[in-house]
């Protein structure tokens, strides 16, 4: 009975304005068809194939390095008793930071009523999912006894911040998947129309995840509601994931980590690197899939402004983090701070501050600096700066313990990652990019349905 009523409603054209039933093929205009054909996922071209090949190769080298690490133990790394956390943990923090972008672009923009952001939501969500997957993988890589990973679930101790992190990363992963999935449903229906060009396996996959979407008003209502709930839920969870990650450090006594500023410092940094990653991805997808009409110069202009805001915010928290201890120069922190400001780590430290925050801000403050290419360059600077910033958060502190580094072999007193560490780290970065690439191959990188809807609204 109910089905009949719905069908009746559709045939009578009693549709809500923001929903377009493509299933009935009646309301689709030529303009819409153009959008669909523009935004449909494209098979890899030559460049795409090379790109995937290179990423896969890097991943394989990383896998080989990990095999060596499994076989011989963490001895293959350069980590030792003092620097017991190295670039794996830096990289973990970096991934967690980037994953925060899903909540920024999608949830914050949506709840704040920022309309221009909608073409960027899918990019942000894909990045978030890829980053969170590799954040959890890299933490397993860092474990000395990874075969006992499941102990975290059967012997989990709620007092430990690591367990909080495990819980919140799992939660964030599921929310990110849902936030990727819900807005995909209308697009899946469009994708299913192109059975021929899709290929059999992919078609079956589309059918499996979304063949039930008919675009009825009720379905739209339920989906809208779900996305709204998700957007509200993801913000506190996203804040938690990065705050808890900062607590892995801030719950210790170590100079440089023992800071009440750490949660906010990490979150502001995460928003910055996330936004940076999105502008880089925007630029690349725009070039690769010829999306100039959909990711416009205006998007770069606006994302440029957002980046400036976030960079200044992060700079502010950096000031808080370093100026006050510098002013006091406590004995336990003096050597660590001097190491950063003028010692061994100074080049890296000032690189991260300048390239990660100040130079991008200077570029983006100018109108000409907010053209796609400069924004892209600024984005790369932000991301690279952010990676080294994470390195600086982890390593220098560990090289400045309270008691002198004594009665240990010489190799324990400094740290430079071994080739295995670099290979695994680069492999994980390549892996994250590979996941982004594959997801962009499977799903439309710009939400088709939403674009059509918005098109209709603007023409009206």
């Amino acid at each position: 009975m109910e089905n009949l009523i719905i069908n009746e409603k559709i045939t009578k054209g009693q549709l809500p304005k923001n929903s377009v039933s493509i299933a009935n093929h009646k309301i689709i205009s030529i303009a819409d068809e153009k959008i669909i054909s523009d935004l449909l996922p494209q098979k890899f071209g030559k460049a795409g194939k090379i790109w995937v090949g290179v990423l896969t190769a890097i991943c394989l080298v990383g896998l080989y390095a990990y095999y060596r690490q499994l076989r011989y133990g963490l001895i293959v790394t350069s980590m030792r008793d003092y620097v017991s956390w190295g670039i794996y943990i830096s990289n973990f923090v970096f991934f967690v930071a980037i994953s925060l972008v899903g909540s920024l672009i999608t949830a914050v923009f949506r709840l704040a009523g920022v309309k221009w952001g909608s073409p960027l939501t899918r990019i942000a969500e894909i990045i978030a999912v890829a980053a969170i997957i590799f954040a959890s993988l890299i933490i397993i890589v860092d474990m000395g006894s990874p075969e006992r990973f499941y102990y975290l679930f059967i012997y989990g101790r709620i007092q430990s911040p690591i367990i909080w992190d495990v819980i919140v990363i799992t939660t964030y992963f599921f929310i990110s998947i849902l936030l990727l999935y819900y807005p995909l449903l209308p697009d899946i229906q469009i994708l299913l129309r192109f059975k021929q060009s899709t290929g059999k396996r992919l078609y079956r996959f589309y059918s499996f995840i979304g063949s039930f979407w008919k675009g009825t008003p009720e379905q739209f209502r339920l989906s809208e509601k779900a996305i709204n709930i998700l957007c509200i839920t993801i913000i506190p969870v996203a804040f938690t994931i990065h705050t808890v990650t900062s607590w892995l450090f801030a719950t210790t006594y170590r100079p440089g980590w023992d800071s009440t500023n750490f949660g906010a410092y990490f979150i502001s940094g995460a928003f910055l690197v996330g936004a940076g990653a999105v502008v880089v991805a925007m630029y690349i997808f725009r070039k690769a899939q010829h999306l100039e009409k959909y990711i416009t110069e205006d998007h770069f202009e606006k994302m440029g402004r957002v980046l400036v805001l976030l960079a200044l915010l992060y700079l502010y928290f950096n000031m808080n983090e370093f100026l006050t201890p510098f002013f006091k120069m406590k004995e336990s922190e003096a050597e660590y701070l001097n190491g950063l400001f003028s010692g061994n780590f100074a080049p890296l430290f000032w690189f991260a501050i300048l390239i990660g925050m100040i130079v991008p801000t200077l570029i983006l403050l100018f109108k000409k600096g907010r053209k796609p290419l400069p924004v892209f360059i600024a984005g790369i600077m932000v991301v690279v700066g952010a990676w080294f910033k994470r390195y600086l958060i982890v390593t220098p502190t560990l090289l400045h313990p309270f008691l002198p580094m004594h009665d240990v072999p010489e190799s324990y007193r400094h740290y430079f990652p071994s080739w295995e560490e670099w290979a695994i780290t680069l492999g994980s970065l390549a892996g994250a990019m590979l996941i982004i690439t594959i997801l962009a191959r499977i799903f439309p990188i710009i939400p088709i349905q939403e674009t059509i809807t918005e098109q209709h609204e603007t023409t009206k």
Binding site: E2, N3, L4, I6, N7, Y155, G156, R157, I158, Q159, W164, I167, T171, F174, I175, L178, Y181, Y182, L185, S211, F212, W213, K214, T216, E218, Q219, L222, S223, K225, A226, I229, L230, T233, V237
Partner: protein, 299 residues
């Protein structure tokens, strides 16, 4: 010999000498062992023998483990065999006197305890002994917290007091004994008595305040090691205050603080409740879609 062969032979000789050097010294020169036999009596009951084996390495004595020793009473003959022992990591081994030596034991007031080692690949044969006269020690604790120890020696058939023996008066503690005051040892007078005042007021005892006093003669040339114990209620009553098993941040997983569990689990419950609802929502949407498909097929 060809020059080539000659050089090879020289080389081989050098290699042989270099590699064999250590071995030569080992076989040529076995190390010497020093065997010390110590005699202990606790509470005037069972005599105990403790053998300690050491060797000198680079001018320093080191304990030797795994040395098999035979112990004899008075003479190393079969009929006077006490037992066979092997030293542990600390170079020590312990034995008691078996009942089979009852008559031999009663024969004399003085005994020699002999430990023999037959020698092995690394060490020369060696032996050690100790001569001990039968003695006993008594302890008495007065109500004025004075502790008196009395040392007696067996002469003919009776116990006679011994003068000039150093006695340690102490409180039994883990791994060692704490002297009752700052005097390390007291010497017996002509009545065989040595007294000291208990100056460890407030020292923790057991739940009832009991502590164990001990009077000891240590490494005496004639009597070996004698000790005797006495329990007195002079300690402070001790009740264990223990954080173990309390709900703290450093307790085990089943002892997590309640406030933490409450906060953590309620947040998890709410968030995962929402997530489960949203997954359920997908199925709701699916149901609608499937109903439509079914409807179209019917038509």
């Amino acid at each position: 010999m060809k020059p080539q062969n000659k050089s090879i032979a020289t080389l081989l000789t050098i290699i042989f000498l270099l590699s064999g050097y250590k071995g030569f010294t080992q076989t040529a020169q076995k190390a010497d062992l020093s065997i010390a036999v110590n005699y202990f009596i606790s509470n005037n009951k069972v005599p105990r023998l403790m053998v300690k084996v050491k060797t000198k390495v680079n001018g320093r004595f080191q304990n030797v483990a795994g040395i098999s020793l035979k112990l004899f009473l008075d003479k190393d003959t079969a009929g006077k065999f006490i037992g066979k022992v092997v030293t542990n990591d600390d170079g020590e081994a312990t034995a008691y006197i078996p009942p089979s030596l009852k008559s031999q034991w009663g024969n004399s007031l003085k005994h020699i305890f002999v430990a023999t080692f037959d020698g092995n690949k690394k060490y020369e044969s060696a032996n050690g002994d100790v001569t001990v006269a039968k003695a006993k020690i008594l302890i008495d604790a007065g109500s004025d917290k004075t502790i008196t120890a009395s040392v007696f020696e067996m002469k003919d058939t009776s116990w006679v007091p011994v003068k000039g023996v150093d006695v340690v008066l102490a409180i039994r503690r883990m791994g060692a004994d704490l002297a009752i005051n700052d005097t390390p040892a007291f010497t017996t007078d002509s009545t065989g008595k040595a007294s000291g005042d208990f100056k460890r007021d407030g020292i923790p005892g057991d739940a009832k305040g009991n502590i164990i006093l001990v009077a000891k003669v240590l490494d005496n040339d004639q009597y070996g090691n004698l000790s005797v114990e006495k329990t007195v209620p002079w300690g402070a009553k001790f009740t264990m205050v223990n954080l173990f098993g309390k709900r703290t941040l450093f307790a085990t997983r089943d002892k997590a603080p309640l406030w933490l569990q409450l906060i953590a689990y309620s947040i998890m419950f709410i968030v995962w409740g929402i997530l489960v609802y949203l997954v359920f929502n997908v199925f709701k949407i699916k149901k609608i879609g499937e109903d439509i498909t079914a409807g179209i097929k019917k038509q």
